[in-house]
Symmetry: C2
Subunit: 128 residues, 2 copies
DNA sequence: CTTGATCCTCACGTTGACGTGAGGTTTTAG
DNA sequence: CTAAAACCTCACGTCAACGTGAGGATCAAG
């Protein structure tokens, strides 16, 4: 597979794939002419990388976790990193949940005050 | 209240408070000598701003929803913005939850392979 | 053989929320 | 009164994950 197809399949840009290689996250063979050659599995791998990025992991953090996908052997260091990141994600979920609840409150108040057409006409009626 | 106390109370840097003012998120009076003067309520306000930042809102987005806190009057535009951001946070929570679950899987596999001391000695026993 | 699509390697540009001095004034504790 | 602490305004630095040309080679189709 060439880079364009992988990009399309994984839903990322070609530039992103080159960047991932630069970071050591994806390894690509080269054709004699220098074009990158990816195995089919690269698409899934990149999707997983994207998942971790969207979860807020840095390239370095991903780099420390990815080898496990390949070898299925975890050093204590890798296991710890996995747990650390999971815990970080947990607290971030909690933060987001709090923020969402606060926004829900505000939206409640906002839509309440938005009934003002009726409320307003009522008070206008009362005023007249 | 002066800037240092607000920073301490809200758990942010002095620089951050100046930045918030620059963005129009916090308004501060000035003493005759030019020092910023905040009302007590500034601490809670800044905490709320931090909550929104940590939820991924940009300064501009915060600027569009904050007036509601002051006036308790929401324009349709503000209400829509509130809903948009809440929905964005919802999907982000979903993304994070998926990522957390994937990591939990991996941690499961990792700790499983980490029982290898016993497993290993067992297989060593079997091998001998 | 040619041309348009795809690929390559530099290498600088972008964005947001601050960090970090530089150089100077004001406040406060003793 | 004096020194340290706190404050002020510029204004440049940072960091990560790419975006965006520049300038050129390679590939697939007709």
């Amino acid at each position: 597979m060439r880079i364009g197809k992988v990009a399309e399949g994984a839903g990322v840009s070609v530039r992103a794939l080159r960047y991932y290689e630069e970071q050591g996250l994806v390894i690509a063979d080269r054709s004699p002419s220098g074009h990158r050659q990816y195995p089919e599995s690269a698409v899934e791998r990149v999707k997983f990388i994207q998942l971790l990025y969207s979860a807020g992991l840095s390239s370095k953090a991903i780099l420390q976790v990815l080898p496990f996908l390949d070898t299925l052997v975890a050093t204590p260091r890798m296991t710890q990193r996995l747990k650390d990141e999971r815990d970080r994600i947990r607290t971030q979920i909690d933060d987001l949940t709090r923020a969402r609840d606060r926004l829900d409150e505000l939206i409640g108040l906002a839509t309440e005050s938005a009934i003002s057409p009726a409320t307003c006409s009522a008070s206008v009626d009362a005023a007249t």
